[in-house]
């Protein structure tokens, strides 16, 4: 694996614990993409993809005579195009993603690390990756591109990404589902803090469009445990809304609502065959990615 270029979100020192990044990346790549697309390495077979009607001028070597015998019509075999996979990294940069509790990284930074790592690994495998950042609107879009130039643009975009405004996931996802024409892998990195039913519905739209969807639900440990027992006033980072209440009541009410939210999102994803995982920012991102992708590799092999 060539030496990764120097970017903030790929900087081993800055990241701290990513010293095995090249090695981890290799593992990730091989495991992840095996079977999905044609590897540039020799020895891999070409897979038959589909039939289409024979038209004059087509290569007669590919006529599938068995089908002719059944249907009395001429069909040619179409093989898997040996093109790179298209991957869209959708990174939520709403205000809530700028939250962090005791850890070193905000959710946005953590998500940026995830996005950068995934983008780099896909570039390494000659796949194309693009980046879309959004809050209540699509704020920046890096087109899907192969190679170093595409990666560079993507990294630059990540490094300039700051937390923005409020969230509007449902509308954004619906919009993107319609925008992304070709079947692609859509990796959503977000805290999904929006109406869960709207979010699930929008995610299903991606599936309806035949996209493969992975949801990396990025949450801070404090958002999962609400460890505060002496807080009586909370200010919402996105809306500025302030609420005054009893600390113990806060915790119970919040956690119970959060549990319902998580169950709704997870259930919605699972029912739509959307790969869902909670990326807790207290876990090292490379550990998270490595574990997640290894499991996925075992399932897909």
């Amino acid at each position: 694996m060539p030496t990764p270029p120097t970017y903030n979100y790929l900087d081993a020192e800055a990241l701290g614990r990513l010293k095995n990044l090249p090695l981890a990346a290799r593992h990730v790549v091989e495991g992840f993409f095996a079977g999905m697309h044609k590897s540039p390495h020799k020895g891999f077979s070409v897979e038959f993809a589909e039939h289409r009607l024979y038209t004059p001028g087509a290569d007669p070597r590919h006529i599938d005579w068995r089908v002719f015998g059944r249907r009395d019509k001429l069909y040619v075999k179409q093989y898997e195009e040996e093109t790179s996979m298209r991957c869209y990294l959708l990174l939520d940069k709403s205000a809530s993603m700028g939250y962090k509790s005791d850890g070193p990284l905000t959710k946005l930074e953590y998500g940026s690390f995830l996005a950068a790592t995934l983008a780099y690994l896909m570039a390494y495998q000659h796949d194309a990756a693009g980046l879309i950042t959004f809050d209540d609107k699509i704020r920046h879009s890096v087109p899907v591109r192969q190679g170093a130039s595409g990666l560079r643009a993507l990294m630059d975009s990540l490094e300039n990404t700051e937390p923005g405004n409020e969230t509007n996931l449902g509308e954004i996802f619906h919009q993107l589902a319609e925008t992304i024409k070709r079947r692609s892998l859509v990796i959503i990195i977000s805290d999904l803090f929006d109406d869960p039913d709207a979010v699930v519905g929008a995610l299903k739209h991606f599936r309806h469009k035949k996209h493969d969807v992975i949801v990396l639900h990025t949450l801070d440990p404090a958002e999962l445990t609400f460890p505060f027992d002496d807080i009586s006033r909370i200010e919402d980072m996105e809306t500025g809304r302030e609420i005054t209440s009893d600390p113990r009541a806060f915790r119970k009410g919040y956690l119970e609502a959060l549990a319902t939210f998580l169950e709704t999102v997870r259930g919605g994803c699972l029912s739509s065959q959307i790969d869902y995982a909670v990326a807790e920012t207290s876990m090292k991102f490379d550990t998270f990615l490595g574990t997640y992708l290894a499991r996925r590799q075992r399932l897909t092999s």
Binding site: M36, E47, F48, A49, E50, R70, E80, S96, M97, G98, Y99, D191, F193, D212, D220, A222, E223, L224, F228, D230, I231, S232, R233, I234, E235, D236, M237, E238, T239, R241, I243, T244, S245, D246, P247, R248, A249, F250, K252, G253, Y254, L255, E256, A257, L258, A259, F261, E263, R266, L270, Q273, Y276, A277, V278, E280, T291, Y292, R295, R296, T300
Partner: protein, 776 residues
């Protein structure tokens, strides 16, 4: 609303404890910026706000719990006036304090106060029902304390009625304070939750209430209802013989004896009356009392000459129709015949004026010729043993140096049996002898002397005076007339020398002005010893030539010559009459004939100073004490009504006197002022006190006073209800808003379940196979 124990109301301050805790917790207002508040939905917040209201209600409930408990401990009650009342359903325990003192014999409109009080007591008794209990305490003053007719309240109301029907007014003084204390203790006889009531039926004489140590009888309960029922004359009027002064402790035959009665007008008008003197049931004198003004007193005078010796009794009487008990004042005297006295001359002299007994004889012989009532038989010390001392009431030792041991023993026996001994010391006095023979623990009753002789003070041979007579006991019958100088003065009496002695337990009747005991009285068995520490002649003092010497000697000799009871035969009704006990006779049996003719007995007591005593002195009049079967040996004593009983100043008049603040006087009725004063002055700390001015209102007042609502049980019930509800409410709020939240399942990459539900990404080959499967 009133409270039985208002001090417990301070406990209501504890209601602030939950509030302080609540405020201290509420002060934490830490604020954070969090990623989202979307999970704190409006519904949650609305619900939470409702819970805050519930929490405030919970806080109020907790504060109420503390406050109510303190109020319950303070025992609140309500006594509504002029309202239909909720009568207590509890059985009643009633103690009737019936004032049977002499003042209750006051007659108004032909009916005595005691009869009116009895009628009121019967009215109360008739209001009781089966299951109720009653007792009676009589408020007459007795040395043994108020008479308690029943040891504890009895359900046998018929027995109580019987006592009420038969009890009579007495001649006793009033002792309301102890009677009420005794009644309060009696009403708490057992722990039954009865309605406890004490009714005091009395004229409420001011002199009948005194402050005493309640620990003697124990304090009452705060929830005992006390009713003071005033049974009084409308306008008290009374003319009484409050005291009589007698010329001497012991009259002598043929000697005019002065009797001076004091008449007091307690009326509001000027009165006139007739005063009479009776001796031995015969009227021997009469005086008119004219124009005695209201509130004033006058001292009249009778002179009577007793013609024979022995016991003579009588009384002074005034005519007054209202309160008869204090119209008479009784007396009893043992009149002295010609008295033979044995004198032991320790320093005889052929020169008369130098004889030790010269001045004594001169004083005793000062009576007119043929009328000498005191005769001296004189012996020397060595001849004393040969004399039969039983022929004499009194032996005088004048400057005796010593005497045979036998004579000392006989002298001890003589005094122990009731004889009198008068010792004059002097230059012959052998202190060593006297300290050995007349003093010491080895002698009978510790010796005839009260204590050892210490030594001589002064110089008998000097011409300068050493000292004079200083303090003396003017209350003693011998010295009483010297108090006002009527019979002479001690002021000009000088002493060159005297003996100093240890008076021990003896009464020191006279001292020098330097404090040395001069005249001591020492009880010895049934007799009395008096010691004068100087001479009876002019050797050491000029007393024999001073005017006071003659009356002093007469009184001294008259006092010591009288019978054992004579010096103490005037008592008040209710007093304990002690009977002297000698070593020879021991605890003898004696009978006492009372004024009504009934016979009583002398009994033993626990008092070591008076092991024998007579306690049945409830009647005013003349008593006679005698050995069984020997009435001819009777000795008389009298019991008179206390002068206080004649004073008809009543408590309600005292308390109802107009206060200095006119506004206060207008705002409160007379009854209210009296009731308030009784509660505050007589019975501080007893809130349930009712004053009934008219016994005719007793029924209604009883209902008012013992009814009303005792609220503390209801308050306690409320405390229990709140105490049971509080944890239930708190638990409900806690569970809903502060309990443990349900567990959150966080799917991780490791989650098998998540991964099982992941569908493998669709591959081109699999898609073809799927399509082939679907195509014909």
């Amino acid at each position: 609303m009133e409270f039985l124990r208002p001090l417990f109301l301070l406990g209501t301050l504890s209601a602030a404890i939950p509030l302080i805790i609540h405020l201290s917790r509420s002060r934490r207002t830490k604020k954070i910026r969090f990623s989202t508040t979307r999970f704190l939905t409006d519904q949650f917040l609305r619900s939470y706000r409702m819970s805050r209201i519930k929490e405030r209600l919970l806080l109020l409930a907790r504060m109420l719990l503390f406050a109510l408990f303190a109020i319950a401990l303070a025992q609140p009650f309500v006594r509504p006036a002029n309202q239909p009342l909720m009568i207590s359903e509890q059985p009643r325990t009633v103690v009737l304090v019936l004032d049977n003192s002499a003042s209750m014999g006051y007659i108004e409109d032909g009916v005595s106060l005691f009869d009116r009080a009895r009628d009121a007591a019967i009215e109360i008794l008739e209001s009781l029902e089966q299951g109720d209990r009653a007792a009676i305490v009589m408020a007459g003053r007795r040395a043994a304390g108020p008479e308690v007719v029943f040891d504890e309240p009895t359900p046998e109301l018929g027995d109580v009625r019987q006592v009420l029907d038969t009890v009579q007014v007495s001649d006793l003084d009033t002792d309301l304070s102890r009677a009420v204390a005794r009644a309060e203790k009696l009403v708490l006889a057992d722990s039954r939750e009865d309605s406890r009531e004490v009714y005091v039926l009395s004229d409420l004489q001011d002199s009948g209430w005194e402050v005493f140590d309640e620990s003697e009888d124990g304090s009452g309960s705060l929830d005992t209802s006390l009713f003071f029922v005033s049974v009084r004359p409308e306008q008290p009027r009374n003319l009484s013989v409050t005291a009589v002064q007698y010329a001497a402790a012991r009259p002598m035959v043929g000697v005019p004896f002065t009797i001076r009665p004091r008449i007091h007008n307690h009326d509001h008008e000027t009165v006139s009356s007739t005063l009479q003197l009776y001796v031995d049931d015969k009227k021997v004198g009469e005086r008119q009392i004219e124009g005695l003004q209201p509130g004033r007193w006058v001292v009249s005078r009778f002179h009577h000459t007793f013609e024979t010796g022995g016991w003579h009794t009588g009384y002074v009487q005034i005519h007054d129709s209202t309160l008869a008990a204090d119209n008479r004042r009784y007396f009893a005297f043992e009149v002295l015949d010609a008295v033979h006295i044995l004198a032991v001359n320790g320093a005889p002299s052929s020169v008369r004026r130098l004889d030790e007994l010269f001045f004594l004889q001169a004083a005793l012989g000062a009576a007119a010729a043929g009328e000498e009532s005191i005769q001296l038989d004189i012996v020397t010390p060595d001849r004393l043993a040969n004399r039969d001392l039983s022929n004499y009431p009194l032996v005088i030792l004048a400057n005796v140096e010593s005497m045979p041991t036998q004579a000392v023993t006989e002298l001890e026996s003589f005094v122990d049996s009731g004889g009198g001994l008068l010792i004059f010391l002097g230059d012959k006095t052998n202190a060593a002898f006297f300290n050995q023979a007349f003093s010491g623990s080895n002698r009978l009753h510790g010796g005839l002397l009260p204590g050892p002789l210490i030594g001589l003070i002064g110089d008998p041979d000097s011409e300068t005076q050493l000292t004079q007579i200083g303090k003396f006991d003017g209350n003693h019958v011998v010295l009483s007339s010297f108090d006002d100088g009527r019979t002479g003065s001690f002021s000009s009496i000088n002493l060159k020398a005297c003996w100093d002695m240890d008076p021990g337990d003896a009464s020191v009747l006279m001292r020098t002005d330097s404090g040395t005991p001069l005249l001591c009285e020492h009880k010895f068995g049934e007799g009395t010893v008096m010691v004068f520490s100087s001479t009876c002649d002019r050797d050491w003092t000029n007393f024999p030539v001073r005017p006071a010497y003659l009356p002093w000697i007469y009184r001294l000799i008259g006092y010591l010559s009288q019978d054992t009871q004579g010096h103490r035969n005037f008592f008040h009704t209710g007093d304990v009459v002690p009977v002297p006990v000698s070593a020879t006779t021991g605890l003898r049996q004696l009978l006492v004939r009372k004024p009504d003719g009934n016979i009583g007995t002398v009994g033993t007591t626990d008092d070591p100073a008076a092991p024998l005593a007579f306690t049945g002195t409830s009647q005013a009049g003349i008593y006679a004490m005698y050995p069984p079967g020997r009435p001819e040996l009777s000795e008389a004593f009298v019991a008179n009504i206390s002068a206080y009983e004649s004073d008809l100043t009543l408590l309600d008049d005292v308390f109802a006197a107009a206060p200095s603040d006119e506004a206060e006087a207008e705002s409160q009725s007379r009854e209210a002022r009296v009731e308030s004063a009784i509660r505050e002055v007589l019975l501080p700390g007893r809130p349930l006190v009712t004053f009934v001015a008219d016994p005719g209102d007793l029924g209604a007042a009883s209902l008012r006073g013992r009814s009303g609502w005792k609220l503390w049980n209801y308050v306690l019930m409320l405390v229990i209800i709140v105490a049971l509800l509080e944890p239930w409410i708190a638990n409900r709020i806690s569970l809903k808003y502060y309990g443990k939240p349900r567990e959150i399942h966080v799917p991780s990459p490791e989650s098998a379940r998540v991964n099982q539900q992941l569908q493998r990404p669709v591959s081109p080959r699999r898609e073809v196979e799927r399509q082939e499967a679907g195509r014909p």
